[in-house]
């Protein structure tokens, strides 16, 4: 074989493998979405129906009107959105302050604090949920979305600080010094110079926290018992407790839960990767 032919063959093999990886990664997601739009006789069959030939919105309509556990899926979507947004609003402020401290100052206790950030990320939520349940009950936050928000802030903050500090460190210090020399105070320097430059990193970090809070199951499962306060993950698993599994409704709901996350992933794709890798790998 000539080197050129060999090279072409290599290229064909590589591209074939690439397509294979693409199919393996996306097919299960495609199957969820397509099931959500299939009529029941095409869902409950032992045949393979690659795409819905009778495209239907009946499952989407059903989960929006009847829903599950007596309430529309919208309610659970709304609850999840409230929890996730509340988490990032509080979390962003806290993370930015701490990230600025570790990225801009050398002080006694900095290294222990960084080590602490890593250690607390290891703590399993299964271990925290027992004492948090007792505390939340005592504080009257049981069955309250606020109680969930507080726990989600705690679960997302350590990684948020860890990730955001690399973005703060990336802003050249000379910019702040220039503002300093021009007579700007500490707060003005922070707000007018550092903040706008860190804002993209803050968005990426917040999106990461949003996704974590949006997906979280354990806390929602055990700190909430009132169905009107259920979040999406709890509502989704609730389907299986019912008699006869309504796959169309489940797939419609899980598609609705997945869409915001996929959009976020695609929007911040590049930054997500670099942020995660920089935060998790390069330190």
């Amino acid at each position: 074989m000539t080197p050129l032919a060999r090279k072409r063959l290599d290229k064909v093999t590589l591209n074939t493998l690439g397509v294979l990886v693409f199919v393996v990664a996306t097919f299960p997601v495609y199957w969820m979405v397509s099931t959500a739009f299939k009529a029941n006789d095409q869902i409950f069959t032992t045949d393979f129906i690659p795409f819905p030939t009778h495209f239907t919105f009946e499952h989407v309509q059903r989960v929006l009107s009847e829903g599950v556990a007596g309430h529309s899926i919208w309610l659970y979507m709304r609850n999840s959105a409230i929890v996730a947004l509340g988490t990032i609003l509080i979390g962003a402020v806290f993370a930015l302050l701490s990230a600025t401290a570790v990225a801009r100052f050398r002080f006694k206790g900095r290294t222990p604090f960084l080590a602490l950030l890593l250690v607390v990320q290891m703590i399993p939520a299964e271990a925290l949920v027992i004492p948090l349940f007792l505390s939340v009950k005592r504080l009257g936050l049981y069955d309250q979305l606020l109680g969930l928000i507080v726990t989600q802030v705690a679960l997302t903050l350590p990684f948020g600080i860890w990730m955001l500090r690399t973005f703060v460190a990336a802003v050249p210090k000379s910019l702040e010094e220039a503002a300093w020399i021009d007579g700007a105070g500490r707060f003005t320097t922070f707000w007018k110079v550092l903040f706008p430059l860190v804002a993209p990193g803050l968005v990426a970090t917040s999106i990461f926290s949003f996704i974590t809070a949006w997906n979280e199951l354990i806390m929602s499962l055990y700190l909430i018992s009132d169905p009107t306060k259920y979040t999406m993950p709890v509502a989704l698993q609730y389907f299986f407790g019912q008699k006869g599994t309504d796959w169309g409704a489940i797939m419609a709901s899980s598609t609705m839960m997945t869409i915001p996350v996929v959009i976020f992933f695609l929007v911040v794709q590049r930054r997500m990767v670099s942020g995660l890798v920089a935060g998790a790998v390069k330190g």
Partner: protein, 334 residues
């Protein structure tokens, strides 16, 4: 006298360097400079202390107590039971099967995720620009699916009656299927009844969702490796396999170390997917996470016993994390 105002505006101010005097850095909002990082850390430390460390300590305390319904409602204080919660594990089959499930699952899922992810990362590096982006977007979908939805999807794919996996297995020629598995008809095969097959599905699910992160991290690492090194290897006629072990692997060792430890931590804690795939009624399929919370929250609640199981899991993770932190600070150059 119209000139005066112009003079005072133009001449007087701009020639005076007065307002450009730099501020003394020591005083800012009345705080001494050394205290500023500490002040900035206060909110973060409060959250970590009150909502992560304090509950962690409480959990360790509860593990040595009996906390049931009366104690939760506050009618009685928690009673100390010493090591009872732990000694009861000794002849508790569910504890040992949960521990075994947790460890065996991680031992299988972690290497599979890493190997597959690395292979895809190397592939992405060798693909053309457009094709590489296409595949990255594809694997992003698997990565982006929320864990609960992952469980839902794979539970549907492995459904006994209408699942596509059984349909695909029915496609195998009868003689082959019989020779391999001893059966030809797969319709109705209940994959999610026995612990071993539940965990097989869980491994597939977790590897499917976990490999994209590894692939993308490896790709990021590979982009930092100078192209000349590969050029030189090619000129020397090194086989791709050798190139990987002699160049890629040693250079990306820190990346692999962190990815390994992160995967171990994530896979030891796997919960959402298992919760959806197996439910809480199948006790043989519990892992430590599931066992801890069901023990603590099922009726009647046994919070002490649940906390003891959670403590075992936490200690295992703590040991793994120690390795992780050592690796992180080895790389820390700032």
């Amino acid at each position: 006298m119209t000139n005066t105002s112009t003079l005072s505006r133009g001449g007087g101010r701009s020639s005076d360097p007065g307002p450009r005097r730099p501020r003394p850095p020591r005083k800012a909002g009345g705080l001494p400079a050394w205290s500023i990082p500490y002040v900035l850390l206060i909110p973060g430390l409060l959250v970590i202390g009150a909502l992560l460390l304090y509950p962690l300590i409480q959990m360790a305390i509860i593990a040595f107590q009996k906390v049931g319904l009366v104690q939760i409602s506050g009618k009685k204080p928690a009673t100390w039971v010493g090591l009872d919660n732990f000694t009861s594990f000794v002849d508790n089959d569910i504890f040992w099967s949960s521990l075994r499930n947790t460890v065996v699952f991680a031992v299988i899922a972690v290497p599979l995720t890493l190997v597959l992810g690395t292979a895809v990362g190397v592939l992405l590096h060798r693909l053309g620009k457009k094709m590489s982006l296409f595949v990255i977007i594809g694997i992003m979908f698997a990565w982006a699916v929320p864990p609960v939805a992952q469980g839902v999807i794979w539970r549907w794919l492995f459904d006994a009656e209408a699942g596509i996996v059984n349909w695909a297995l029915n496609l195998l020629p009868d003689w082959l299927s019989t020779a391999l598995f001893g059966r030809a008809d797969w319709t109705g095969e209940p994959w999610l009844n026995d612990a071993w097959s539940i965990y097989m599905v869980l491994v597939i699910c977790v590897v499917w969702a976990g490999f994209p992160f590894v692939a993308v991290s490896v790709l990021a690492g590979l982009k930092g490796v100078p192209a000349e090194l590969y050029e030189a290897a090619r000129v020397d006629g090194a086989a791709p396999w050798r190139t990987f072990w002699k160049i890629t692997f040693p250079l990306l060792k820190p990346v692999f170390a962190v990815l390994t430890v992160l995967s171990i931590i994530w896979d030891f804690k796997v919960f959402s997917q298992l919760y959806v795939l197996a439910g809480t009624s199948n006790r043989e399929a519990y892992n430590l996470s599931m066992y801890a919370v069901t023990e603590a929250f099922k009726a009647p609640p046994k919070m002490g016993s649940g906390a003891a199981i959670a403590l075992v899991l936490t200690v295992i993770l703590l040991i793994v994390t120690a390795a992780y932190i050592r690796q992180m600070f080895k790389q820390e150059d700032t």
